[in-house]
C-alpha cells in the first residue's frame, strides 16, 4: 500500500477498515513533492499537503477547494494524492483538476505515463496494479481565471459535504464540478451545456439541472436527497450569478 499523509490509513486502520502489513512512503520521491509553475504549466506533486497547496497560493481554486477538507491540523498531513485516491466518496481536491482538464502523471511497474484526467478519473482514479499518482500538470492559463469554490455541510464547520462545488469561468463558458451530490465526484458536459444556456433565465436553467445529473442525488446521514437538491440549486444560482455575464 502506498503511503503519503497517512491520515486515512491510520484512522481507518484502527477500526479495521484498512489493513496492510507494509507501506511504501511516496513522500521521498522528489517528483511527488514537486511544485513548479511557468508560462505553460503548473506541476503539483501528489505528496504535497493540502495546507501547502493552500499556503502556496499558486492555484487558488485548488488551494481553496482543498481547504474545505477536514481541519487545518489534518490538512497539514492530508496530501493531494491521498485525497484523490481516498476510500471516501468525496475526494474534493480532484474537482479543480477536472475543471482545468489537467493531465496526471502516473507511475507504476512499467514506468511513468502522462494522461488527461478525463481519461483516467471516472468517479475514482482508475489506477492499474502497482500504480500511483505522481503529479498533476495544469495549463497555466487556468490559474488566473475567475473561480468559485463553496462547500455546504450539514451543520458543522468541519464535516463531509452535503455538496461541494468548484467552478471556473473560461472563455468558452462556466465549468462546474461537484462532490457529495452523487456517490462520486464528477464534472458533467451535459450539465455544463445546460447551465451555460444563456438564452434561458438562470432560475430556469437551475430548475432543469437535476435532469442532467449522472446519478441519483445522494441521501444519507448528512442530508436527504431532497434537501441536498435544494442546497445544490441555491449554490448553482450563486455561482451563475457571481461568475455569469
Amino acid at each position: 500500500m502506498y503511503w503519503s499523509g497517512g491520515t486515512e490509513i491510520i484512522t481507518l486502520g484502527r477500526v479495521n477498515l484498512v489493513y496492510t502489513e507494509a507501506v511504501i512512503d511516496l513522500k521521498h520521491i522528489p517528483e511527488c513533492r514537486a511544485l513548479a509553475v511557468n508560462d505553460q504549466s503548473l506541476i503539483v506533486g501528489s505528496a504535497l499537503t493540502l495546507s501547502e497547496l493552500y499556503d502556496s497560493r499558486v492555484f487558488p481554486l485548488l488551494g481553496e477547494t482543498g481547504s474545505g477538507v477536514a481541519d487545518r491540523t489534518s490538512r497539514n498531513k492530508i496530501t493531494l494524492g491521498g485525497n484523490i485516491c481516498s476510500q471516501f466518496i468525496y475526494k474534493e481536491a480532484v474537482l479543480p483538476l477536472l475543471l482545468t482538464d489537467s493531465d496526471l502523471v502516473i507511475a507504476g511497474p512499467s514506468g511513468a505515463r502522462r494522461i488527461p484526467i478525463g481519461q483516467i478519473f471516472n468517479g475514482t482514479l482508475r489506477l492499474g496494479s502497482g500504480e500511483f499518482l505522481v503529479q498533476s500538470v495544469t495549463d497555466s492559463q487556468y490559474l488566473t481565471m475567475p473561480h468559485f469554490s463553496i462547500k455546504k455541510r450539514k451543520v458543522a464547520a468541519i464535516d463531509y459535504p452535503v455538496v461541494t462545488t468548484a467552478a471556473i469561468r473560461t472563455n468558452s463558458g462556466i465549468r462546474l464540478a461537484f462532490s457529495g451530490l452523487c456517490a462520486f465526484p464528477f464534472r458533467s458536459a451535459a450539465l455544463e451545456r445546460l447551465l451555460n444556456e444563456s438564452k434561458l433565465p438562470v432560475a430556469e436553467r437551475v430548475g432543469l439541472a437535476a435532469s442532467q445529473l449522472p446519478a441519483p442525488i445522494l441521501s444519507d446521514m448528512k442530508a436527504s436527497a431532497a434537501y441536498r437538491e435544494i442546497v445544490w440549486k441555491n449554490v448553482l444560482i450563486d455561482i451563475l450569478t457571481t461568475l455569469g455575464e
Binding site: 455546504k152 450539514k154 451543520v155 458543522a156 464547520a157 442530508a223 431532497a226 434537501y227 435544494i230
Partner: protein, 777 residues
C-alpha cells in the same frame, strides 16, 4: 484579604496546561493486563452462541469472558442489567464479551475474533414505540428484578417506571382557563462526548483488597455498589480517582468497574486495565436520555397560567440505570419556574433498544425546560402576547409552591423576575425580535427561562479534613472529584475565607482515595460547593477552635478574647499579644523544650436538612434544597433558502446567590451554554430502522467547535441562599438548561414555523417548513 469573590486560578491548571496531569488511563504498569470489549452489532437480538476458540489462540490472550461469567444483575434503581450480555442483547454496542491479554493489541485482536451468532429481534426504536400495544417487550422478567423502591415498573410492558404528580385542582384549573395550548417536543439520545473516554483498572490483591482506579464522578458509589453486587465488605474495596477529563454526568454511572473486576477475578486477581476507544465510549457506555413530551397549558386571556398537564415519555434505553431518576427530576420541576397553581404530570420512563441513559449535565432539566418553554411560546402565540411578558407574569415568587408542594422562600428560590428584567435589557428584546437583513438573511432572537432543584438522595452527605503543614499552610481533603469544574479551588477559597488567610496557602488534594478521603456523596448536581463547602466550613471552625485553645495557653488569655487573622492568633483588644499559626499548628514548644498540643486536624461534615422522597402518586416531597433560576436568550442569523444559520449571540442571566470565583463562574456558565447550544444545534444519535447507531464516531457526531461559538454575555445577580456557604447557589449545570429552548424559539421566529425537535440541523428546520416528517435512514 478577601478569599471569595476573587478569580483564584484553578489549582490543577498548571499541571493540565503542561500536560503533566495524570488521568486514569495514563497509569502504566509492567505487569498490568489489558482488556478489550466485543460489542453487539444489533440493537435487539438473541445470542445463539459465542465461539471464543479462535480468539483464545491469539498469542498473549489470558482469558475471554462472556455472559456466563456472572449472573449478577446490576443497576442503581432496578437491577436489570447483566454485566456482560446474557441470552439477549438489547442495544447496539452492548458488551457481549471481554478479552484479556498481555497487551492491548492482543486483547483487541482477540476481541475481534470472538464469533457471536445472533438471531435479530424486532426493535423498539423510540419511547412512543415502546408504549404500543404490539411493542416487543425488552424485559420479560421486569417483575422479578430487584428494585431499590424508587422506580415503579409495570411488568409485562416496557415501562421501567411511572411517576405521577398532582398539585391543586386540575379540573378547576381547566375551568378557569380561557385559552388552551398544547405542544409536543422530542429528541433522541445523544452522547456526553467528554474529552477523556472512560477507563478503569481493577486488581484483587492476595490480602483480599479490591483496588479499583476509575475515571468516575462517583468513587464512593462505586465502592458501595461493588460491595452490594459482589458481596464484598465495603472496607475491602478501595476506589481511587485521579483528575477526570470531563464527565457531564456520563461518569456517574457504574459501567466499566464491574467488567474489569470480573476480568481481574478471571486472571487470578492480576491488575487489568480497560480504556474505551472513542467509538466504544459513544456506542457502548451510557448516553444522554431521549424524550418525547406533551405539555398542555391553560391560561386566562391576560396570560395567567391556571393549569398544566405534562406528559413525559423518556427514552431510558435498554436498561434503567439512572433514567427513571433523571425522569423523576424532570417531574419535580415540571412546571418550569412558573407559579402554576393546578398541575398534573404523568411521567413514563421507557425501555427502548437504545443505549442506556445516565445523568447528563442538567439532570432532566434542559429536557423538561425544552418541553415547557416551547409550550409557553405556543401559548404566547395563541394569546398574541409577548413571550417575555407571559413568562414575567407567571414567574414563580416566594409564597408560591413548587410542584412538590414545597413552599418557595426568598432563600430557596432565586429571583426569576430580576433575571428576566436583566435579560430584557441585555438582549434588547424590546428593540426587535426578528428582522430581515437582506433578501435571504433573517435575524431572530429567542428566550427561555429555567429553574433547577437538585435531586439527591435524602441522606447525601459530604465530609472534609484539613491538616496543617509546619509552615502554617493547610492541606484540604474532600471527596469531590475534580472533573474540570474548579470546585476544589472554590473549596480552598471557602476555607481561606473562614480561616482569614490567603487561598494560595491552601493546598488541595486533587485525587480521591475512598480509604482515606472523607466521603462526598457524588460529584454531581452542581452541589460540590454546598455539600463539601459546608463540610469545609465546619472543619475550619473545628481547626480554629483548636488553634485558639492552644494559643490561649501560650498567650495566657481566654480563647474567647482571641482572633485568627492572617495566620496569626492575637488578643482582640491588644494585637501586640500574638503568636504565629505556624508556631502552634504542630503543637507548641516552650523555650525549655516542653511541648503541648500536636498537629491540628480539622474535620467537618454536612448533610442536607429535612429532605424526603417523593410520593409516587402525588409527587409530594422535598427532593432538594433550593431552586436555582435564570433567564437566557439566543440570537441567530438564518439563510431562508436552505435554513442554514449562524449562532450570533447567547445571553445568560443566572442568580448565583454569591459569586465565589468570578472567572470560574463565568467559565462554568459559558461552557454550559456552549454545551446546550451544541446539543440543540447538532448532537444526537442517528438510528436506522434496526436501532443501530449510524454515527458513533466524532467524524459523524459533531460537537460545537471553538470558532463556531457565538459571542457570550454572562451576567450574575446575587440573591443569597441562606443555607449555602456565603450564599452561593449552584452554577455548574445551569448555563445549559435554557439554551435548547431559546435556540428553538429564535429559529422558529426566523423560519415562521414552530420547531419542536432536536437537534436543529438546518435540514430539520427546512423539513419543518416544508411539512415533511422525520425519516429513519
Amino acid at each position: 484579604m478577601k478569599a471569595i469573590g476573587r478569580s483564584v486560578p484553578k489549582k490543577e491548571s498548571f499541571d493540565k496546561v503542561t500536560g503533566v496531569a495524570m488521568y486514569t488511563a495514563d497509569k502504566v504498569e509492567a505487569r498490568m493486563l489489558h482488556a478489550r470489549l466485543a460489542l453487539s452489532p444489533y440493537a435487539h437480538a438473541r445470542i445463539l452462541s459465542v465461539d471464543t476458540s479462535e480468539a483464545k489462540q491469539v498469542q498473549g490472550v489470558k482469558t475471554i469472558l462472556t455472559g456466563d461469567v456472572s449472573d449478577v444483575l446490576i443497576g442503581e434503581e432496578i437491577r436489570d442489567r447483566p454485566i456482560i450480555a446474557r441470552e439477549k442483547v438489547r442495544y447496539y454496542g452492548e458488551v457481549v464479551a471481554v478479552a484479556v491479554a498481555d497487551t492491548e493489541a492482543a486483547a483487541k485482536r482477540a476481541a475481534e475474533l470472538i464469533r457471536v451468532e445472533y438471531e435479530p429481534l424486532p426493535v423498539v426504536n423510540s419511547p412512543v414505540d415502546a408504549l404500543r400495544q404490539d411493542a416487543p417487550i425488552l424485559h420479560d422478567k421486569l417483575g422479578e428484578y430487584e428494585n431499590e423502591g424508587r422506580a415503579v415498573p409495570v411488568p409485562g410492558t416496557n415501562i421501567a417506571s411511572v411517576n405521577r404528580l398532582r398539585k391543586g385542582d386540575i379540573d378547576k384549573g381547566w375551568k378557569e382557563s380561557e385559552m388552551i395550548a398544547e405542544n409536543t417536543v422530542w429528541f433522541m439520545p445523544s452522547d456526553h462526548a467528554a474529552m477523556e473516554t472512560r477507563s478503569a483498572t481493577a486488581e484483587i490483591r492476595p490480602d483480599g483488597y479490591v483496588v479499583i482506579d476509575t475515571s468516575s464522578q462517583v468513587p464512593f458509589t462505586v465502592k458501595k455498589y461493588m460491595a452490594n453486587y459482589f458481596g464484598i465488605g465495603s472496607g475491602w474495596i478501595v476506589v481511587q480517582t485521579p483528575l477526570v477529563g470531563g464527565a457531564f454526568g456520563g461518569k456517574s454511572a457504574i459501567f466499566l468497574e464491574p467488567i474489569v473486576y470480573l476480568a481481574s477475578k478471571a486472571v487470578g486477581g492480576r491488575k487489568v486495565k480497560i480504556v474505551l476507544t472513542r467509538e466504544e465510549d459513544m456506542a457502548s457506555a451510557p448516553v444522554r436520555i431521549g424524550l418525547h413530551a406533551t405539555v398542555k397549558l391553560g391560561s386566562t386571556l391576560d396570560g395567567y397560567i391556571k393549569a398544566a398537564h405534562i406528559t413525559y415519555r423518556f427514552d431510558g434505553g435498554a436498561y434503567n440505570d439512572k433514567s427513571s431518576d433523571v425522569a423523576k427530576a424532570a417531574v419535580i420541576d415540571c412546571s418550569g419556574p412558573y407559579g402554576i397553581p393546578n398541575l398534573a404530570c404523568d411521567c413514563f420512563t421507557l425501555y427502548t433498544n437504545h443505549g442506556f441513559a445516565a445523568a447528563f449535565r442538567g439532570y432532566g432539566h434542559s429536557e423538561l425546560t425544552f418541553a415547557m418553554e416551547r409550550a409557553i411560546d405556543a401559548l404566547a402565540d395563541k394569546l398574541g402576547m409577548d413571550p417575555w411578558e407571559l413568562r414575567f407574569r407567571n414567574a414563580a415568587v416566594p409564597g408560591d409552591t413548587a410542584p412538590t408542594r414545597d413552599l418557595l422562600t426568598p432563600s430557596n428560590l432565586g429571583d426569576i423576575k430580576t433575571c428576566l428584567n436583566r435579560l430584557k435589557i441585555l438582549s434588547e428584546w424590546e428593540g426587535w425580535q426578528v428582522r430581515q437583513i437582506d433578501a435571504y438573511r433573517i435575524r431572530a432572537k429567542g428566550i427561555s427561562c429555567f429553574w433547577k432543584n437538585s435531586s439527591m438522595d435524602t441522606d447525601a452527605s459530604s465530609g472534609a479534613i484539613i491538616l496543617f503543614n509546619p509552615d502554617g499552610s493547610i492541606n484540604l481533603e474532600t471527596g469531590v472529584v475534580e472533573i474540570g469544574t474548579g470546585t476544589k479551588t472554590v473549596l480552598a477559597q471557602i476555607l481561606a475565607e473562614r480561616m482569614r488567610m490567603s487561598p494560595e496557602r491552601i493546598h488541595v488534594k486533587l485525587t480521591v482515595d475512598t480509604r482515606t478521603t472523607p466521603e462526598h456523596w457524588k460529584t454531581v448536581a452542581s452541589r460540590g460547593t454546598l455539600l463539601a463547602g459546608r463540610a469545609v466550613l465546619k472543619a475550619a471552625d473545628d481547626a480554629i477552635r483548636q488553634l485558639l485553645d492552644i494559643a490561649a495557653c501560650v498567650l495566657r488569655a481566654d480563647p474567647e478574647d482571641l482572633v485568627l487573622e492572617n495566620e496569626k492568633v492575637f488578643v482582640r483588644a491588644d494585637p501586640s499579644v500574638n503568636i504565629e499559626v505556624r508556631e502552634i499548628c504542630y503543637g507548641y514548644v516552650y523555650p525549655n523544650g516542653n511541648a503541648i498540643g500536636g498537629q491540628i486536624i480539622g474535620r467537618g461534615h454536612y448533610i442536607q436538612r429535612r429532605m424526603n422522597p417523593l410520593n409516587p402518586v402525588t409527587g409530594e416531597g422535598t427532593p432538594g434544597p433550593e431552586w436555582n433560576v435564570g433567564a437566557q436568550a439566543v440570537e441567530i442569523e438564518m439563510d431562508t433558502r436552505d435554513c442554514s444559520y449562524r449562532l450570533m449571540k447567547a445571553i445568560s442571566v443566572n442568580d448565583a446567590g454569591k459569586v465565589l470565583n468570578p472567572e470560574g463562574a463565568r467559565g462554568q456558565v459559558m461552557g454550559a451554554m456552549a454545551m446546550g447550544l451544541s446539543f440543540a444545534n447538532r448532537e444526537g444519535f442517528d438510528y436506522n430502522e434496526q436501532g443501530m447507531v449510524l454515527n458513533p464516531t466524532l467524524r459523524d457526531f459533531s460537537v460545537l467547535r471553538y470558532d463556531e461559538n457565538p459571542s457570550y454575555i454572562v451576567e450574575f445577580i446575587e440573591t443569597p441562599c441562606l443555607d449555602a456557604p456565603y450564599g452561593a447557589r449552584a452554577l455548574g449545570e445551569h448555563g445549559m438548561i435554557g439554551m435548547p429552548a431559546a435556540l428553538a424559539d429564535a429559529l422558529s421566529r426566523a423560519a415562521g414555523v414552530r420547531l419542536n425537535q432536536l437537534p436543529l440541523y438546518p435540514e430539520t428546520v427546512w423539513r419543518a417548513r416544508m411539512g415533511y416528517s422525520h425519516v429513519f435512514l
